[in-house]
């Protein structure tokens, strides 16, 4: 198994784990961590694409690495924003989970969110 295949499979595993966590976990902090895991998988996939030299057939391609740097910055800001919202939510309500699903029925009201 070549190194790119190995890393590609690692990336796929990370994406799968992150996606599962983001969709399944009721705890918001865990979902934020899962988002980072999913993002890590995507960034690793970019690394694999760079190592494979993309479609240009070069030994390695610098473009995906440049993209990953931007992606990491964006994911970092997103995480910071999510954590800030979560801390504020916890300070205000003493509860850091989004347990009750959004009410789709007649009782939908901001007090139930």
């Amino acid at each position: 198994m070549s190194s790119t295949t190995l890393f590609g499979m690692c990336a796929a595993a990370l994406v799968g784990l992150g996606l599962y966590g983001l969709l399944i976990h009721p705890q918001t902090l865990r979902r934020i961590v899962a988002f980072n895991l999913l993002g890590g998988g995507v960034f690793l996939m970019f690394g694999v694409v760079a190592r494979r030299g993309a479609a240009a057939g070069m030994a390695s391609d610098p473009v995906p690495q440049a993209l990953v740097i931007t992606g990491v910055v964006v994911a970092f800001s997103a995480t910071a924003l999510a954590i800030a919202l979560l801390l504020r939510l916890f300070a205000d309500s003493g509860d850091a989970s989004l347990r009750s699903p959004p009410h789709d029925g007649v009782a939908a009201d901001r007090t139930h969110v």
């Binding site: 994406v15 988002f35 473009v63 997103a78 789709d104």
Partner: protein
């Protein structure tokens, strides 16, 4: 990509307008942050007419002759450089966004401007800078021609739109903002995953170059599927709409107007770019039918829930869920089974018209509902009796917006649905005709439900807690009127 390195591209003079459309709102937002909440509203309101002028200039250059404006950033060609590109779709959306943002600015003066002698609030600074940031990010979405650049634009839009949901800082709105953020992040990371796969397969991120290289193989299918799924989560298409109603429940009316009218349309615009421009030949009939089936699900689900709501604001939010469904009906109608590709035709025009008319109508509707809620101190539908007498302009704005949502002539909504109906009949897909007709009846039911209540009389005359300014009511009315009059362009330049 040695062939593409350092090939300077002569940037035509018109291309600079595209840069201005993106940079101008950012400059204004930065200036607003530096000068603080006391001046933020004035800076934003001064920047808006100029931004509208830029959008009009681009529309004038693009719309009448179908001309395409491009600008290669830094003079570098794709695939290495980033191209900004304005075609008819972009120009129409730029203009819509500019009009709705300017109207929102005028409307929001009453809520987020500080009077002399009052202490500075967080909302007054945050709202105006975020509004300008939303505008800039939207313009980048409409003009970007590079998939990764568009990813950055989507994230900028998310970061600007999420705080708009929780401007009042209560626990309920914070939870709604956090839920919205998680949905949006899932959406954009899936989009990024697809972008990486496409780059790995084709070595370019430029939409035009990609369209020439795309092959219908497994990797492309996976990339397109995850990108579309991510964009659908951001567009709040059923069943990924769960974040939208709570986000609107506690957001200020001006923020709701921007969110419902524009922000969800940005990711929808990228679905169009992806399906029609980047890979029109990739899809088959089943994929387009599936997308429209989700749209039909949204129409029925959103309408039924809208009918069951007790709060006016949530009724309108669920109406957005339903109206987004209409946007996705155009995909099977634009699919040409003989050529095996999506064709830009009357179905795409109908979808675009639905996007624009819904933007005007829904912004007007949220503003009118916000004014009613401000005036009577609540927005329970059961307690609206007497509004028709007390606030005739606001109720008229609500009704006109409803006319366009239902699709009565001569509104933009009517023309949009007429085009979609014609496309459905022409391609023999009668089941989408049924969806369009039944959806219109549902919309009529929930709009009339509100109007009948509001026209009702009460024994004691309705007392307004706060009187709302006439200009705010007129702003809502003008937006709704534009949605209604949009149908008349059938007799105008686009006939």
């Amino acid at each position: 990509m040695p062939d593409s390195l350092a090939v300077p591209l002569a940037n035509p003079s018109g291309g600079l307008w595209l840069v201005a459309a993106i940079v101008w709102p950012v400059l204004a937002a930065l200036l607003a942050i530096c000068s603080g909440g006391r001046l933020a509203d004035r800076i934003a309101l001064l920047a808006m007419p100029i931004g509208l002028g830029i959008a009009v200039a681009i529309a004038m250059a693009v719309l009448p002759v179908g001309h395409v404006l491009t600008y290669a950033v830094g003079g570098w060609n794709p695939p290495l450089g980033i191209l900004l590109r304005a075609d008819t779709l972009s120009a129409a959306m730029l203009l819509t966004a500019a009009i709705v943002i300017c109207a929102t600015g005028i409307f929001a003066r009453g809520a987020f401007s500080l009077r002399a002698g009052t202490p500075e609030t967080r909302g007054s600074l945050a709202f105006w800078t975020l509004l300008l940031a939303v505008w800039s990010a939207m313009n980048l979405v409409f003009l970007g021609n590079d998939l990764f650049n568009l990813y950055v634009a989507l994230e900028l839009l998310t970061f600007a739109a999420v705080p708009l949901v929780c401007l009042d800082g209560s626990a309920a709105t914070l939870a709604a903002a956090l839920r919205y953020l998680l949905f949006a992040l899932l959406g954009s990371v899936l989009y990024l995953l697809g972008t990486g796969l496409l780059y790995g397969a084709y070595g370019t991120l430029d939409i035009t170059l990609l369209a020439a290289r795309v092959r219908p193989d497994f990797a492309t299918w996976v990339a397109a599927a995850v990108m579309t799924t991510g964009l659908l989560a951001k567009t709040a298409l059923f069943p990924l709409h769960l974040w939208l109603p709570p986000a609107h429940a506690g957001a200020p009316p001006a923020a709701s107007a921007v969110l419902s009218a524009l922000v969800v349309k940005a990711s929808f615009f990228l679905v169009i770019r992806l399906w029609f421009d980047a890979m029109p030949g990739l899809w088959n009939s089943l994929a387009t039918q599936l997308l429209a089936a989700l749209g039909a699900g949204a129409i029925f689900y959103g309408s039924v829930l809208a009918l069951r709501q007790q709060r006016l604001k949530l009724l309108i939010a669920y109406s957005t869920v339903a109206q987004i469904g209409y946007l996705f009906l155009m995909f099977p109608l634009a699919f040409d089974p003989i050529a095996g590709r999506l064709q830009a035709g009357i179905a795409l025009t109908g979808g675009l018209l639905q996007t624009v008319s819904h933007a005007f109508a829904k912004a007007g509707m949220f503003m009118a509902a916000g004014l009613v809620a401000t005036a009577i101190g609540h927005d329970r539908i059961a307690g609206l009796a007497g509004i028709g007498r007390a606030m005739p302009i606001s109720l008229f704005a609500f009704g006109l917006a409803g006319v366009s949502l239902i699709g009565l002539p001569p509104s933009g909504g009517f023309l949009a649905k007429w085009l979609l109906l014609s496309a459905a009949i022409a391609s023999g897909q009668w089941w989408w005709v049924a969806v369009l007709v039944i959806g219109g009846l549902f919309t009529g039911a929930y709009v009339l439900l509100v109007l009948v209540r509001a026209m009702g009389t009460t024994e004691a005359p309705l007392i307004l807690h706060v009187s709302v300014s006439r200009y705010r009511e007129l702003t809502a009315l003008i937006l709704s009127l534009m949605a209604v009059l949009l149908g008349l362009i059938a007799f105008g330049p686009l006939a």
